[in-house]
């Protein structure tokens, strides 16, 4: 019997392993869909291990890039001008650093003013990585559960909405950008107060769904958050309508929108730590378990 069992194992061991591995991946997908705690624990653990390296790599890239832009291109100069050019390079480097400091200072002042004006319950975070896949749109930030960041929290900039926290680890978190297909935020058209749901369609574009055909909306209209759902403060700029589409004879019209923030150039962001109004209903898209659990 043992010999037969061994023979069967030898014969079917590899196919069984392949099937088991793929089944395991499917079970994992199912557990993720149900938001089970065990999977999240492993996610957080692995993220915690990998993210410091990611942070270090980003730092290296930024340093090398800065040096490359301001210095290395100036190295190969004619010999007779070397001293002068060196001096120029040093001055340029100094100038660059000053400019960079000035820009950072201005940016920080804007962020601080924004924070004081809108909500004191915000923390700043640095973007340390982008989505490894081209199908999904997310970034990794250097703040996590240890800093009070939780799933579903809003991530913004003074210029507009960035997205919401999707996964968390003790010191890092993944932010789902508004341009991702899985993102959905309640919005209103600023001029006409028409309500709609903002969904991502990738490539730095979004669309407004469930915008009633009877509601007025035009190209160039600014769209802001409605505040429904409690995660995003009301009135934050989301983007500008670029195209209106009244498909067929349905109840709704659709609008394509360009986000007000360039989501490919993110460096620092704000995470809103406090829900804006907990009593308000949960945000949109209450369909087949797709929505991110808040």
């Amino acid at each position: 019997m043992r010999i037969r069992g061994f023979f069967l194992f030898r014969r079917f061991g590899l196919p069984a392993f392949i099937v088991l591995l793929l089944l395991f991946a499917l079970v994992l997908m199912s557990l993720r869909a149900k938001q089970r705690g065990g999977v999240e624990f492993f996610d957080a653990l692995l993220m915690e291990i990998c993210s410091p390296f990611q942070k270090a790599a980003t730092f290296t890239v930024k340093t090398v890039q800065g040096t490359f832009r301001q210095y290395v291109f100036l190295v190969n100069l004619e010999k007779e001008n070397r001293v002068l050019k060196q001096k120029i390079a040093e001055l340029q480097e100094e100038n660059h650093r000053m400019k960079e400091m000035k820009l950072t200072n201005e940016r920080m002042r804007q962020l601080l003013q924004f924070r004081e004006k809108n909500s004191p319950f915000m923390i700043g975070a640095e973007v340390i990585g982008q989505d490894p896949s081209s199908w999904f749109k997310s970034v990794t930030i250097d703040k996590g559960e240890g800093d009070g960041v939780k799933k579903g929290m809003a991530v913004i900039l003074p210029t507009g909405v960035i997205g919401q926290v999707l996964k968390t680890a003790p010191h890092y978190a993944t932010v789902l950008l508004v341009t991702d297909y899985n993102s959905a935020i309640a919005c209103i058209v600023q001029r006409t107060r028409a309500k709609a749901i903002l969904e991502g369609i990738g490539e730095n574009r979004c669309q407004l769904k469930y915008l009633l055909r009877a509601d007025e909306a035009a190209v160039g209209d600014v769209v802001v958050t409605s505040g429904l759902g409690g995660n995003f403060p009301k009135g934050l700029r989301v983007g500008e309508i670029k195209k209106i589409d009244k498909r067929g004879h349905g109840v709704f019209q659709y609008a394509e929108l360009v986000p007000s923030v360039d989501l490919t150039q993110l460096e620092e962001v704000f995470v809103i730590m406090e829900p804006m109004s907990p009593a308000q209903p949960q945000e949109e898209k209450g369909k087949r378990g797709k929505k991110i659990k808040k």
Partner: protein, 174 residues
Amino acid sequence: MKRVVLPLLLGVFLLILQTTWLRFFPIHRVRPDILLIFTLYLGLSFPPVSGGILAFLMGYLMDLFSGNALGFYALSRPLVFFAAQFFRERFYLEGFYSKFLFAFIYAVLEGLLIFLLMNALHPSPLGGLYPLLLTSLLPQSFFTALVTPPLFFLFQIGSSFLFRQPEKGIMEKV
């Protein structure tokens, strides 16, 4: 042990490369997927069990750092690995063009699989995704395939330092 841990560390390094350095690639939508290339290399040169587990872990790590909440890559990467294993004897993989074609086909097929899964599991139709098949999937697959031959060459050099039979990824050097 070495044949699992070292490739895993290399995979983590490639993932970090993909999420940080490659963001400075001039055209965002055509960033090559170097983790896919690594998975293909595993499929061509590693045994099914350790390679399968490595491919799964690569997919899991991809999911972890992406906005993909369900974990499609933990499924697609082992599938890519086993498909590469299955077809490795049927493909002539010596020249540049054959490696290019091999990687291009797998990149397109994996993209289509992700696309199908996204459509199947999304509550509403994702009409906006269809244009991406042409504007994003094909160019990205092309660039991934373009980078594949030199990366395969580098992986082979690395393997020859680590293994006695680098083409099989086995027999650790003492």
